[in-house]
């Protein structure tokens, strides 16, 4: 079967450069200052809300939220609100010209609730006023008559262990007839056989929290009505093309009448996917209705109750192994709580089940996973996307197994991990680029694992150190979730400067700089030649969503293809002008010359100018589509992702036995990302991902009151790590095992950098606590807050034990 040209180009560049060391590249892997760092340190108005000053006659749109987490709506009366000074109109569901839905994957989430509310953050009406203050004040005057229903927050009220059957309960999504959103499974080998052959069985229940993205820029959208009946929306969104679809659906417009522009985002982490659609739709609805620019600006409180979170998980795991530590099988039941709406829940559930047995050879597996609705604030995409939850369980299980068998946790992992030539639990052959063993060995060496593990095991006293490891793998891009493609456009201008366009968004993660690095390396120009345009659905072709660690690989491949084709044409033209072979042309802009005779030379600008005279087009569009993934719904067999990022994390912690307070002292992260494209961005992920993962491990959870209200709706009560909470040293190590279908062999890093942080810290805490298998087993949920850690200390009498 012949491969598409773009696959050939990517593979060709990989094979030509795979032996090259990253240090030998001109741009790839270098510590390039980010293209947008200067406007950022100068405080230029680049974020959505900053643009407000550019518009006149703006109306402000404020969301009236539900007072109940679960209730029928009997009546909405807006007459008093309409009388409030400054209020221009109040919009409810009946004002929506198109379809009242912003559900991301399935249509289960009304933009404006009219029949039922399912969570405290549901919007029932929009106040449109001349100022945000007036709009907020008037919100209290909207009178809604509710008929409250049972509030269900515990997913175990929806399904039960032993098959995850749905129980009798008040339906949250009565229109669906079930509150189980989706189910997935893995069936491999014969789990009964594993059970019979096993010398040891380790069994435990795990719980992970509902993490909030807490990006510092809260949601903002500004919609501008256009004279032709179309609408332009500037919005904080990770996925402008999905946002366009949502706005078009709500307004009943064709896609080409909705233009979404995504300015840089002040953080996203997955959270700015569906809420981006919602805020854009709210602003666009008001703009179209009133014919005036309309702005939606969320407060932190609205942000926290109004956007998706990380799915909390409850899971029961059983690991079967031989006496020598060889894994025989994994049996698990996993419940993900998606809250009030599906959001990306079905995909999160799928990614979770794919990774549910960890990066190990597992000959027998029997895993069931259900994603269920509750009346919590809804859960959706968050860096890691289902994998951090299951990896916490799997990596805690491995440490329990190691303790039970008396094997060092590193040795147990080395015995079971995936290597080149192995098959995953889905039966997928990993025929190249598996750098997990190297990552583990390098992390172990850098962290002085064996020395510290021994030392800490013998310590005395009430301030105890512990060291823990966790390993993981993470499928890149969206795999079997959907059509997996990306695009990029490179337009060389007549003066030699270059415009770069992609629909992928920049929320600080370094992805777009990575694309620039790729284009600059191939074209032979400095990164400073590029101007990056904001993603704009009117001028950039659909690049797919900016999610799933796909920018560097998918966007990178598209960029590489465009740059490669341009370079071919430029080489040919330069060869003709200078009189040497196209392959002999060296571009080191501003110099262009023949390698065999450097005296034969011209400038980049001359070459560009000549291309206009000689009829050589110097703009190019790049496209890349991942090979279709395979997945059998009944057995979980196939090839879910085209490739995986691997990693090993080692955390060194101190636990105060008298207070339960945990401090991370040092950490080492080792990731196999195929090839480092953007060194600055890669380090940022390793370090920043660790810090966010540390928050997830030790402090972060959204707490709901029994009636479904959220207790911690601001950063004063939802704590994220500050500069005083972090370890002084987080050491990133890079393994570059390559991947033939990645740009220069690169794989994704955005999500992987948080996946195994929490279990590495939990494992270190368990080590610090000591006290044997039973204590170890009780470290089975996070956040590991002081009160929870202290409860374990107290239960097992550890103060007495270590005081003596």
């Amino acid at each position: 079967m012949s491969k598409p040209e773009y696959v050939d180009i990517v593979e060709k560049v990989f094979s030509e450069t795979k032996e090259k060391k990253t240090e030998e590249f001109r741009v790839i892997g270098k510590r390039i200052v980010k293209y947008d760092a200067i406007p950022k340190i100068l405080g230029k108005p680049i974020f959505t809300a900053d643009l407000l000053n550019l518009f006149k006659d703006v109306v402000f749109v404020y969301s009236v939220r539900s007072k109940y987490a679960h209730a029928w709506i009997k009546k909405i009366d807006v007459s008093d609100a309409l009388k409030y000074p400054g209020v221009i109109t109040v919009l409810t569901a009946k004002d929506i010209p198109g379809v009242n839905d912003v559900g991301y994957v399935i249509p289960d989430q009304p933009l404006l609730a009219d029949k039922k509310v399912r969570m405290i953050g549901d919007t029932v009406a929009l106040i449109v006023a001349d100022s945000l203050e007036n709009a907020r004040d008037a919100a209290d005057l909207v009178s809604v008559e509710y008929e409250p229903l049972d509030v269900i927050l515990d997913p175990l009220k929806i399904v039960e262990w032993g098959g995850l059957r749905e129980k009798e309960h008040t339906l949250i999504h009565d229109e669906r007839g079930s509150d189980v959103l989706s189910r997935y499974k893995i069936r491999r080998g014969d789990i009964k056989k594993a059970e019979q052959e096993a010398a040891v069985v380790v069994e435990n229940e795990y719980r992970t929290p509902m993490q909030e993205h807490a990006y510092l820029e809260t949601e903002a959208a500004i919609a501008v009505p256009e004279p032709d009946g179309s609408v332009t929306v500037y919005a904080k969104t990770q996925c402008p093309f999905d946002t366009r679809k949502a706005v078009a659906t709500v307004l009943g417009l064709p896609f080409n009448k909705v233009r979404i522009i995504a300015p840089p985002l002040g953080g996203g982490f997955g959270g700015a996917e569906d809420v981006g659609n919602e805020i854009a739709a709210k602003a666009a609805l008001a703009a179209i209705k009133l014919g005036r620019p309309a702005a939606v600006l969320y407060t932190r409180e609205e942000s926290i109750i109004g956007h998706s979170k990380r799915h909390p998980m409850i899971a029961r795991y059983k690991h079967y192994a031989r006496r020598d530590g060889t894994l025989l099988g994994v049996q698990a039941e996993i419940i993900l709580n998606t809250g009030a709406y599906a959001s990306l829940g079905p995909f999160v559930g799928w990614r979770a089940v794919v990774h549910s047995t960890g990066p190990y050879k597992v000959p027998n597996a029997h895993v069931d996973l259900a994603v269920v609705y509750t009346n919590m604030v809804y859960a959706g995409a968050f860096r890691g996307f289902g994998n951090p939850q299951v990896t916490f369980a799997v990596e805690r299980q491995m440490d329990l197994l190691a303790e039970e068998l008396g094997i060092d946790p590193v040795e147990l992992r080395l015995k079971n991990i995936l290597r080149n030539g192995d098959r995953t639990v889905h039966g997928q052959l990993l025929d190249h680029g598996v750098g997990l063993e190297e990552a583990i060995r390098k992390a172990v060496e850098a962290a002085k694992w064996y020395e510290k593990r021994r030392l800490y095991s013998q310590q005395k006293g009430l301030l105890r150190r512990g060291i823990g490891i966790a390993v993981f793998y993470h499928g890149n891009s969206i795999g079997a979730e959907g059509a997996d493609f990306s695009t990029a456009t490179i337009i060389i201008q007549r003066d030699g400067s270059i415009v770069f366009r992609t629909g992928l968004t920049d929320f600080g993660q370094g992805n777009i700089q990575g694309l620039i690095n790729i284009a600059a390396e191939i074209l032979g120009v400095p990164p400073s030649y590029f101007k990056v345009e904001w993603p704009d659905t009117a001028s950039t072709p659909d690049a797919g969503p900016t999610v799933a660690s796909r920018s560097t690989v998918m966007g990178g491949n598209a960029t590489l293809v465009a740059a490669y084709k341009l370079r071919q044409r430029l080489n040919k033209l330069a060869g003709e002008i200078l009189g040497c072979d196209p392959d002999d042309i060296v571009i080191e802009a501003p110099k262009v010359y023949c390698r065999s005779d450097p005296n034969l030379s011209m400038t980049w600008q001359e070459l560009v100018e000549q291309s206009f005279w000689k009829g050589v087009p110097i703009q190019e569009f790049g496209y890349f589509r991942a090979p279709p993934a395979e997945w059998d719904e009944e057995t979980g067999q196939g090839a879910p992702y085209m490739h995986y990022t691997f990693g090993a994390i080692i955390s060194d912690v101190e636990v105060d036995i008298e207070t339960g307070v945990v401090r991370v002292k040092e950490a080492v992260t080792a990731y196999d990302i195929g090839r480092v494209i953007n060194r600055v961005g890669a380090d940022h992920h390793a370090i920043g991902g660790y810090i966010q993962g540390m928050g997830y491990a030790l402090m972060e959870d959204i707490y709901h009151a029994p009636d479904g209200r959220v207790y911690n709706t601001n950063l004063s009560t939802y704590h994220i790590p500050t500069g005083l909470d972090i370890p002084d040293k987080i050491k990133p190590i890079w393994v570059e095992a390559g991947f033939k279908r990645g740009p220069f062999g690169a794989k994704g890093l955005g999500e992987p950098s948080i996946v195994a942080i929490a279990p590495s810290i939990a494992n270190a805490i368990a080590h610090a606590l000591g006290g044997g298998f039973k204590v170890n087993k009780d470290v089975n949920k996070h956040p590991l807050t002081p009160d929870y850690v202290y409860s374990i200390i107290k239960k097992h009498g550890l103060i007495k034990k270590y005081k003596g």
């Binding site: 200052v33 405080g43 510092l216 002040g266 005083l724």
Partner: protein
């Protein structure tokens, strides 16, 4: 609702400003929307995240917790006022060079705290830097880079390098003249 306004005189980034503001107007809104100083960002509205910090009479203050009417006569410095037109302040330069900027939304809060700290001492200890900068949250996790930036900025200032030429910096980092 129509409210009576209060007349306020401020000196913002060295310029005299006369304003008539409602008594409940927050300084952050005055700066962002009346004076178009959008470097000042809102993150929480409660003085928790520290990204709206500006200098009021030389001291760091949360502009989201400050009423404009309450600081009549004050001198205010925002990020825009750190360096004269066409210049980049040593602290900004240090933040650029240590490459800590990710999404960049919190950066101004850190820079303003760094300015307040370095106005006090040019030899801050690492612990002192951490303590001061813990006022501000960064969700991307650039803390280590920002701590290093303060050290570098102190070095620049001690060497007398207070301002850097913006065009030179741009040329060096991203706007190299093409084709020459």
């Amino acid at each position: 609702m129509a409210v009576k306004t209060v007349h306020v005189h401020l000196k913002v980034n060295g310029k005299d400003v006369e304003l008539d503001v409602p008594p409940n107007e927050r300084l952050i809104d005055t700066l962002r929307y009346r004076l178009k100083l959008t470097s000042v960002k809102e993150g929480c509205g409660r003085g928790e995240c520290g990204i709206c910090i500006v200098l009021v009479n030389g001291l760091p203050r949360h502009s989201c917790l400050t009423l404009t009417a309450a600081i009549d006569g004050a001198e205010i410095t925002t990020l825009e006022g750190l360096a004269p037109e066409g210049k980049i302040h040593a602290i900004q330069m240090a933040f650029l060079e240590t490459r800590g900027v990710q999404c960049g939304y919190c950066t101004q809060g850190f820079i303003m705290m760094a300015k307040a700290l370095l106005d006090k001492t040019l030899d801050p200890s690492y612990e002192e830097i951490k303590e001061w900068l813990s006022s501000t949250l960064c969700r991307c996790g650039s803390y280590h880079y920002y701590f290093a930036a303060v050290k570098l900025a102190a070095k620049y200032i001690k060497e007398g390098k207070i301002y850097f030429d913006e065009e030179e910096v741009k040329k060096k980092y991203y706007m190299r003249v093409v084709g020459r």
